[in-house]
């Protein structure tokens, strides 16, 4: 899925955000919003659990908020394999492995800036890889997931079980049912790109396309899976601080 070939077009959106053309004369891709989580009780509940993925890729943008074991995606019950809990801990992204414990998947992200993370899991090779801002950070073989019922799946954004509430900003959470190439999601510009042509299963844009001028407080899944999400959050949680 390489060679998407996005061209940057000098189009200014309503908030003065630089937009880029997805090519072919389509509507320009604009990222105007992200969601900020309070670290106390904010999370998003998916309308249903995702499918059980064999291979998968998970891409997202985040700002580190301190603390440990703060969840990006997770499960409301003790199941889901690798996706039971993808967390920020110790300034890095981690998953829980039965053998190696909370296992690092990224480089340090603890500088308060936006960072992009891509996690891929190849079930045949039983190998998970983590990329930070376009560069391969970690390759972990012999993956030994915890809570193997319904592996690999999740049903929450921003929390796992009833704990680990995320405490800063998240944007553009996207899932594929295959191992994608880093070039599909990172073009070197340091900002999100239009993922439409990569055919994601799930793509929660964290406020873009979810109501203007006031956020609906729910999220639309722009992927083929069509699993929308309901939040516990007020409209002010949608902010214009974006990567």
């Amino acid at each position: 899925m390489n060679g998407v070939g996005y061209g940057i077009t000098p189009f200014m959106g309503t908030h003065g955000i630089l937009a880029r053309s997805s090519g072919g004369g389509g509507v320009p891709f604009v990222n105007e919003y992200s969601l900020t989580f309070d670290g106390i009780s904010d999370y998003l509940n998916l309308d249903s659990k995702t499918q059980n993925f064999n291979d998968f890729s998970l891409s997202f943008w985040l700002v580190w908020g301190g603390g440990n074991y703060k969840t990006i995606v997770g499960s409301s019950v003790a199941e889901g394999g690798i996706l039971w809990g993808i967390v920020q801990a110790g300034g890095t992204i981690r998953y829980y492995d039965n053998t190696s414990g909370w296992t690092i998947l990224s480089s340090s992200i603890s500088d308060g800036n936006w960072h992009h993370i891509l996690i891929t899991y190849d079930s045949t090779a039983n190998t998970i890889k983590g990329y930070t801002d376009g560069s391969l950070s970690v390759t972990k073989t012999s993956v030994d997931p915890v809570y193997t019922t319904n592996e690999h799946s999740f049903d929450q954004i921003g929390a796992r079980l009833s704990t680990g509430f995320y405490n800063e900003k998240l944007d553009e959470i996207t899932v594929w049912d295959s191992v994608i190439d880093i070039a599909d999601v990172w073009d070197g510009s340091g900002i999100p790109i239009d993922l439409t042509s990569t055919n994601p299963v799930h793509w929660w844009r964290m406020g873009d396309g979810d109501g203007d001028p006031t956020w609906s407080t729910n999220l639309t899944d722009h992927g083929s899976g069509g699993i929308n999400a309901t939040s516990t959050m007020p409209p002010e949680a949608r902010v214009t601080d974006v990567p």
Partner: protein
Amino acid sequence: MHNYPQDYKYGIILTADMGGVDFSQVYPKDSGQLRYSLDGTQFVIKWEDDHEPTFITVGTVVPLLILSHADCLILMESNEWSEPIE
């Protein structure tokens, strides 16, 4: 326009008092999405700091605590609210 979450107040409420809470005035709006203490006896709600819920103002529900965002974050890290990490 409020800064989120700094401009919100957090109330710690006894679960036994839930019947007095008007969820249309607080977040979360759905009582099924509350965060509870580990023993289930308390839960958290929040509101804009200049819009105190009437059920609190008139004393229908008396919170155990009303906290700033920063102070509530500290409370949530306690053993009463967070499981120890594996």
